[in-house]
Each structure stands twice: as structure tokens, then as C-alpha cells.
Amino acid sequence: MISQEGLLLRRNSRNTFHSRRRQEKAANWITFILLVLLGALVLLPIWWMFRSSLMTNAELYRYPPEFFPGKWLFSNYAETMEFFPFWRYLRNTMTFIVPSVIGGTITATMGGYAFARLHFRGKNFLFTLCVGSMLLPTMVTLVPLYIMWSRFFHLVDTYWPLIVPHFCGGGAFNIFLIRQFVKTIPRELDEAATIDGAGPFRILVSIIVPAIKAAMIVVALLLFIMLWNDLLQQIIYINSIEKFTIALGLAQFKGSLGTDWSKIMCATCMSFVPGVLFYLIGQRYFIEGIVMTGMKN
């Protein structure tokens, strides 16, 4: 009796188990199809820009439009480069991004380490100031900073106003990121080093930095994306054409060509490339970094 009942129960549960498995499998397929459709939708704009860059303007204005270009006119890119000095713009962009990223990463690491490990007077106060600055939109302080750079330092139309602020802490956000990371490193390591006679600075350089390399890469990547996307500061501080960055060059190119869309799309697609390459190389860190910034609170 009992064993029969048990058998029945088990068979029933196996049945429901199977139907649930089947249900789940169906749901996963639906999910997959949805993802394919939505993914295609997200990629469609990028594809459309790219395919437009390979066509003649006459083809662009034809109805019905072609989803794939009839002939892939890569020569459009060569023609665009004649008016759109991409390499120079890229070099200019890197001229301010690379030092900013390095400076921001180093100073954020120092600040994060101090907050995580060291005792000093005024720590809580500084911490509150940092939190406050995180919620302060950069737009608010734009005008006074411009006044500072233009009237006191006379450094408008140089890269200095874009670079120097990143040597000042690299942003509260990144300081916190580093702080969270340093906190996960066992204190015993520091203590052992202290007994061996290492000072706090030695500990930072020889123990903490190697241990939080991943977090530092994340900070560097986040800074890179931020600077890569920033347009307003570049517009304000850079005036002369020889110093134009990719974003400024693109704006000017669009302004001077107006409706030559196939060439404008060539320039647009070229500007996509460095960011995408950078992302593909550092993808693991990117995702990790974004996740960490979200999990941190």
C-alpha cells in the first residue's frame, strides 16, 4: 500500500517535473526568439548607417530602399578621408584622453586606498564631501571652471582644461569603486608587510595595487568612455581646427557637407571604430566594471 502510494506520488512528481521542463524549454525558446528580434532592432540603426556609407547619394534617395548596398563602395571612405582627417582627429583625441585616463586612475587609486585603509583626521568629513560631489552634475560648475581656465590661467584652446581635472581624484565615483575593492583585500596582508617594516605607501604600491589591478582597469575604461562621450567640454575649450577631436571634427564635417549623407555616414562609422575596438578588447572588464558600479551601494 504504502509503497504503491509512494510510487504513484513519485510518478506524478516526475510527470509534473517533465511538463515543467518542457514548459521551461518552450519559454527559453520564446526568450531566444525575442532576443534575436530585439537584438536585430538594436543593431538596425548601426547597420543602416553603415550600409548608407557604402552607397551613392542617388541610391540613398531611391524608393523602395535597398537593405544591402548594390555595390559596396568602400571608395566612399577614401573620398571622405580627403575632407575628414580622421587620423589627426584620433591623435588629438588620444592626446587628451590618454593622460586624463592615466591621471584619473592613479589619483582615484590613491584616494580609494586612503579611504579604505588609512586613519586620518577629517576622513568622515572628506567622505561626505565626496558623496556630495557624486550627486553634483558636472554641468552646474561648467561656467565657473571656464572662467577659471580662461581668465586666470589663459589656457583656452589647449588640452590642459580637459586633462588637469582628471589628475584631481578622477571623480568621486571611481574613488568609491577603488575603495570597495581595497576593502575586500584581507588586512592580514598589510599587517604582515607592516611587521616587515613597510610603510603605508609601500603597502599601497607593493600589495594593494597588484591586488586591485582589475579594478584599476575598470576605472580606466569607465573614464575612457566618459571622456569619449563628452562633447560640451571639448566645444567650450577647443577652438582651432588643428586641435579638433573626433567629435568636433565630425560636427564640423556635418555642418559643412549638409546633406551629403553617404559621406557623413562614412565619417560617422569611422568614429564608431575606436570605441567598438576598445570595447571588444576590454569587454570582460567593461561588464565587470558596470556591474561593480551597480552593486556597490
Partner: protein, 307 residues
């Protein structure tokens, strides 16, 4: 007995060295906090009471004149607050729903998950300027992609960013498209929801909507709060499309607050007046943030107190 004073002395020395290093490490950040953040904030507040720039080569104290002008005679200011709030509302709500939905799809066991995650994240790494120029071609009034789609569906052509009533929603669509970072954060949050909760709810007979509503959402509230706050601050600062594409138009439909401030400060050279706009902007952000934080206590669910 004789060890203890010497020990104390050496700890003192160690502490001294420690705080010296700390100040050294904090030095760049302290400089930044003073000169890049708080002093400029103070100057924004102060300069808001001055006339400086056009018609006043050196600052002239004018009291509340700038603020009175903003709220009574400025033809753009009120509209630009409305445009900014309208845009932020659409962009924040849209990108929160979109990114939570995509994250929930990505949280299921599907093939090529990493690939899909990369696809949805991709727009986020494209440079803003190029993104807006590219989209302006898709939104083109006659031959843009979306107008092809509309005429294919048998609908009237639409002028999108050239139409004053559609420009803000059109830009909000781009903002949603760019929200890949929110997806990744949501996804990480979803993966942290303890599976036991779902199993328990399932045993109690909860269907998938009920599980979403009563298990997933409560566990996700801290992440939702974080994304909401960050997305709000980002979208309120919207300026690039106005700079790159619309110049605040058509009409003043996309003349967002930050763009208005830019125009006053850097085009018509009214620095003091621009600072008064910045300060109002700061107050708006502060109030919104405060509201979010104040209400957060009632809807954020903290799981235990293990953190």
C-alpha cells in the same frame, strides 16, 4: 612593564606616518574637491547675483535681478525647464522599462547570452556625437529609415527631429537605445536574487507574473533605485543632441536647460546670468534627488542586514 610606553610611542609614530601618507594620497582628491567641485559651486551661487559679460566687462552686483528676469521676462527659461523634465521623464521611464525587460530576458538560460549582452550594450560605447549624427540620418524627413518604414506600413511621413512636437520623444528613443549600461547592472542584480525565493514561491503556486511582482521586484528595489537615480541625473543633463543636431529647435522645443545655459554663457556671453540658470538647475537636481531618497525608505526592500 617597560615595553608598553615604547610600544605606545611606536604606534604613535606609525599613526603619524599613516596619516601623513593618507593626506599625501588624498591630496589630489582634496584639490579636486576644492577647486573642481565646491569652489565652483560656491561661485555659481555667488555669480548668480552678478551681471558679468555682455555690457559689464567686470562683475557688477545686481541682487536678485537675474533670477527675477529668469522667472518673469526670459522667453526661453520656463519652456526649457518643461522640455528638460519632459525629456527626462520619457527617457528615464523608457530606459528603465526597456533595460529591465531585456535584463529579464538575458537572465534566462538561452544560448549565446554573452553575445546578446554585448549587442545590447554596444550603443553605450559609441561616441555621442556620432550617435546623434547617425540617428539624424535615420530620422531624415524624406529618405530616412523610419520614414521608409512608415511609408511601407502605409502611414504618412513624419518629420521627427524637425517637428517641434516630436523632437523630444524622438531624442528620448535614442536615450533608451543608449541605455545598455542599465541592462548590465539590472542583469547582475537579477543574478543576485536568491533562487530559493523563486523556488519557494513556485511551490506555493505562484505563477510567473506573481513571482516577478512579489519576488523579483522587491529583491531588485535597491538596484532599481540606483539605476533610477543615475539615469535621472544623466538625462537631466541632456545637451549633446541640442549641440550636435537641433540647436535647441525646432522653435525652442529641444532647448534643454543645459543648452540654454551654454547659449547664454558661451554664445551671448552673459556669464552671471548663465550662472543663475546653473544654480536653478542644481536646485532642481537636488530637490529631485532628495525626493527620491526620502521616498526610497518606503519602497526599498533591504534583504536582512548582512551588508
Amino acid at each position: 612593564m617597560s615595553v608598553s610606553p615604547r610600544g605606545k610611542k611606536s604606534t604613535n609614530l606609525v599613526l603619524k606616518a599613516e596619516s601623513r601618507t593618507a593626506y599625501l594620497c588624498m591630496f589630489p582628491s582634496i584639490i579636486g574637491l576644492i577647486f573642481i567641485t565646491y569652489l565652483p559651486l560656491l561661485s555659481v551661487f555667488t555669480l548668480g547675483f552678478f551681471k558679468w559679460g555682455k555690457g559689464a566687462p567686470s562683475p557688477v552686483y545686481v541682487g536678485f535681478e537675474n533670477y527675477i528676469r529668469l522667472f518673469t521676462t526670459d522667453p526661453y527659461f520656463i519652456d526649457s525647464i518643461l522640455a528638460t523634465v519632459y525629456f527626462s521623464l520619457l527617457a528615464v521611464v523608457g530606459s528603465m522599462i526597456y533595460s529591465l525587460f531585456i535584463a529579464m530576458l538575458l537572465n534566462r538560460r538561452v544560448p549565446a547570452r554573452g553575445f546578446f549582452r554585448a549587442v545590447f550594450y554596444l550603443p553605450y560605447v559609441l561616441p555621442a556625437m556620432a550617435v546623434y549624427i547617425g540617428w539624424s540620418w535615420l530620422y531624415e524627413s524624406n529618405f530616412g529609415l523610419f520614414n521608409f518604414v512608415l511609408s511601407w506600413l502605409g502611414l504618412e511621413k513624419v518629420r521627427f527631429i524637425a517637428d517641434s512636437s516630436l523632437v523630444v520623444p524622438s531624442l528620448a528613443v535614442i536615450a533608451v537605445w543608449l541605455a545598455g549600461n542599465l541592462i548590465v547592472i539590472f542583469l547582475a542584480g537579477l543574478q543576485n536574487v536568491p533562487k530559493v525565493y523563486h523556488d519557494a514561491a513556485e511551490i506555493d503556486g505562484a505563477n510567473s507574473w506573481q513571482r516577478f511582482r512579489h519576488v523579483t521586484i522587491p529583491c531588485m528595489t535597491p538596484i532599481i533605485f540606483y539605476n533610477l537615480l543615475m539615469s535621472l541625473i544623466t538625462n537631466m543633463q541632456i545637451v549633446v543632441p541640442a549641440l550636435a543636431l537641433t540647436n535647441g529647435g525646432p522653435g525652442n522645443a529641444s532647448c534643454f536647460l543645459t543648452y540654454l545655459m551654454y547659449r547664454y554663457a558661451f554664445i551671448s556671453n552673459q556669464l552671471g546670468y548663465a550662472c543663475s540658470i546653473s544654480f536653478i538647475f542644481f536646485v532642481i537636481i537636488a530637490v529631485l534627488t532628495a525626493i527620491l531618497f526620502a521616498t526610497s525608505r518606503s519602497w526599498i526592500f533591504y534583504e536582512g542586514d548582512d551588508r
